[in-house]
């Protein structure tokens, strides 16, 4: 059913796209390819090479074989940083996905006030991570923050000083920042669902909740996969926000892999091990992206992607 509806929705564009493709417009991809090679592939190769060297960032680069890799892989900080990264990824996914879907469905409605709210909800996305982190840090300050200001004892926790609370705050702030983005994706996807399906469901006597679970959610399957890939792979790169908010602290409670890489490289001056960490980040990111493709994989997805 899904297949049919998406496929029949736009037969003409897909055919014309085919014929344009036939005349070989491959060169259109050249600018993107040049940029990607220059700013994506080349630095990546550089980092891979650097991971087999010893370099303090300012002196000579000295090839040193596997020294950096041994140092990184035997460092107890690595499993710790991976565990923190995993927690941030999973917790923020668990928090963001339901919220984004609900908000997205809500905002997909045509009512005027929803359009107004959509603009409001969108605001966090316009702010830079650093600004968000500084703001939350000030609000959550245990001595001068919101809790003390409003004399609300439950708000004046040691939010960023207790390891568990700090991790929770990081997940919350990350979600606060990115839920608008994912809501937007879901909003778009929900609007693509043919209204005829809902009309048919209504005639069959399905209530709103039943419609949501039987039509909306299944129709959003691919969007969920896309959004989840962005969330999880993106959470590997959380750096700026955490760096400003907690600097990885207290202790190393919120020191994610990207932060560990930065600290090793730019504060410890150990560019070799930092590059090895960078390579590990890339590999984990690739594996995760592949995994998500697999989850959403199979023939069905393939053909749906073609239609969309």
């Amino acid at each position: 059913m899904t297949l049919a509806s998406v496929g029949s929705a736009r037969p003409a564009p897909s055919r014309s796209a085919q014929s344009v493709h036939g005349r070989s417009l491959g060169w259109l991809a050249v600018p993107a390819l040049v940029f990607f090679t220059t700013f994506g592939i080349l630095p990546l190769i550089g980092v891979l090479l650097l991971s087999f060297t010893t370099w303090d960032g300012i002196g000579e680069v000295v090839p040193s074989g596997l020294t950096s890799w041994k140092a990184v892989l035997s460092d107890p900080q690595l499993p710790h940083a991976m565990w923190v990264t995993f927690q941030v990824a999973v917790l923020s996914w668990l928090f963001q996905t339901p919220m984004s879907i609900l908000l997205g469905v809500f905002l997909a409605g045509a009512q005027k006030y929803r359009a107004f709210l959509a603009v409001l909800y969108f605001i966090p996305l316009l702010l830079s991570s650093a600004a968000i982190a500084i703001t939350f840090k000030a609000l959550l300050d245990p001595n001068f923050g919101l809790g003390t200001g409003l004399s609300l004892p439950f708000l004046s926790q040691d939010w960023l000083g207790e390891p568990k609370l700090a991790l929770g705050v990081v997940v919350f702030v990350v979600s606060w920042q990115f839920i608008p983005f994912h809501s937007l994706i879901y909003q778009g996807a929900v609007r693509q669902i043919p209204t005829s399906m809902y009309e048919a469901a209504q005639i069959d006597g399905a209530g709103r909740i039943r419609q949501f679970f039987s039509i909306t959610l299944p129709q959003l399957k691919n969007t969920i996969i896309t959004s989840s890939t962005l969330m999880v792979v993106g959470s590997l790169t959380f750096f700026d926000l955490i760096y400003v908010l907690t600097a990885g602290g207290p202790g190393d409670a919120t020191r994610v892999l990207a932060l560990q890489m930065y600290i090793t490289g730019f504060q410890g001056n150990l560019m070799g091990p930092a590059s090895a960490l960078g390579v590990i980040l890339v590999i984990v990111g690739l594996l995760l992206a592949l995994l998500f493709r697999r989850i959403g994989g199979g023939d069905k997805t393939a053909s749906q992607l073609e239609g969309a």
């Binding site: 300050d141 960023l160 090793t264 410890g268």
Partner: protein, 433 residues
């Protein structure tokens, strides 16, 4: 594929200059030099003033200046050096950081220049040259002020609670429950910055075991951190933390935002161990706290049975200006001219004294008399000149990679997530070389 990396790199780039005040004239690009230094009043204004006066007096040789926030600068300057884009004049803390520049041949050897310009050298405190010297050669010009770490206290809070300033470590431990019962934190601390915690250990190590304990670790002696005196110091440190000696949430407070100082002058905390440079900012930000005489200060008190001389202090014996070896000859000349005629000129010396700092110029104490901060200045001058040992901050003395391990483990020690013995083991691993 490149996404995770690109994200991280872009983020690094965002820690750019917080204020860019390039005031070099475009016409004099050939002989112009560049100079990066730290933000934060009152120092930033004084640094800018010195450069502006130099630029006004030397139309042909201009210095373009850019100011960075402390922690951002530490990263930025290393990256710039590595990329060959360092400024002509490199502001720094001397010690281990300078040593790493020297080893990478990034900074000029100034030994012979100081030989030819003995007047410049003789003007300055001799003690300030220690951290500018690597393997017997001078690679930096000491500048600005001497900054011992001082134990500050809020006199009003002490009066309110009816307590006396501590004269020993036991007094400190006895004051902790007293202030906690009164709902006031005994000590303010900006623990997220980590080096703030380190100042406590520097003093405890010195007072308990003398300066030899850290010196041994610095020299790379085997198991130096497992010295019984070191373990005692680390244990006492954790005792104070366990007794709630520090303000709630200290591990999420940063020193860069001066929130730790705010805690002291708003009376939320009774005492604070911090650098002499905070006097100026507390005077700036604290209303009538400093002017009204509510700020008290002392050198860190002795620990009963300890071997360290109570006159010893730690901190920054000066700040340091190096010249990039990658600069052109004209730029280097401009920098040297700036060192001779600009740095610590009479208005700068006066400006530092006016903000409550002791510039590292001989005879600076003769300018103190009329200052409204005379009492404080005399104290700083006394502590700095009477100290048997004026030790450099550990993280500045050690090479950067060891310093990072040190700060990391200090944060965990203060978090009580490692024991003193684990701390010693972790550090022995990096300083034994």
């Amino acid at each position: 594929m490149g996404v995770p990396l690109a994200g991280a790199l872009a983020a690094c780039g965002s820690s750019g200059p917080s204020s860019s005040t390039a005031s070099g004239s475009a016409g004099a690009a050939g002989s112009g030099a560049s100079y990066w230094y730290l933000t934060g009043q009152p120092g930033e204004g004084i640094r800018k003033g010195t450069v502006d006066r130099f630029n006004a007096a030397n139309a042909g040789t201009q210095i373009a200046q850019t100011a960075f926030q402390n922690d951002a600068y530490k990263t930025k300057i290393k990256t710039a050096l590595g990329a060959g884009q360092a400024p002509t004049i490199i502001w720094g803390w001397g010690g281990g950081g300078l040593k790493s520049y020297v080893e990478a041949s990034q900074v000029e050897d100034l030994t012979s220049w100081f030989g030819e310009n003995a007047a410049v050298k003789d003007k300055l405190f001799p003690g300030s040259f220690g951290a500018a010297t690597v393997d017997g050669k001078i690679y930096a010009m000491p500048c600005e002020t001497v900054q011992p770490i001082v134990l500050y206290y809020n006199k009003s809070v002490f009066e309110k609670v009816g307590a006396q300033p501590p004269t020993s470590w036991d007094d400190i431990m006895a004051l902790v429950p007293k202030f906690n019962d009164a709902g006031i934190a005994p000590f303010s601390l900006g623990g997220q910055s980590r080096w703030t915690n380190m100042m406590w250990l520097e003093f405890l190590f010195d007072r308990i075991g003398g300066p030899e304990v850290f010196q041994a670790a610095f020299d790379g002696e085997k198991d130096a951190w497992s010295n019984p005196d070191a373990i005692t110091a680390l244990t006492k440190m954790q005792d104070l933390i366990k007794a709630n000696g520090f303000i709630k949430g200290f591990s999420s407070i940063t020193a860069d935002s001066n929130a730790d100082q705010a805690l002291l002058y708003t009376g939320k905390a009774a005492m604070m161990l911090h650098g002499a440079w905070t006097y100026g900012s507390m005077k700036n930000d604290g209303g009538d706290f400093v002017k009204g005489g509510h700020l008290g200060w002392m050198n860190f008190p002795p620990v009963a049975g300890g071997k360290g001389d109570p006159s010893n202090t730690v901190g920054n014996p000066g700040q340091y200006l190096s010249i990039s070896s990658k600069a052109t000859d004209a730029e280097k000349e401009t920098a040297k001219k700036f060192f001779t005629t600009g740095v610590l000129d009479a208005p700068e010396v006066k400006a530092w004294i006016d903000t409550g700092s002791i510039p590292i110029v001989k005879g600076a104490d003769s300018n103190i008399g009329t200052s409204e901060d005379a009492e404080w200045l005399k104290f700083v001058y006394g502590v700095s000149s009477n100290a048997k040992v004026f030790a450099q901050s550990w993280d500045q003395a050690l090479p950067p990679s060891a310093a990072e391990t040190l700060l990391d483990n200090i944060a965990k020690l203060f978090q009580l997530s490692i024991t003193p013995e684990q701390f010693a083991t972790n550090l022995n691993a990096v300083t034994n070389s």
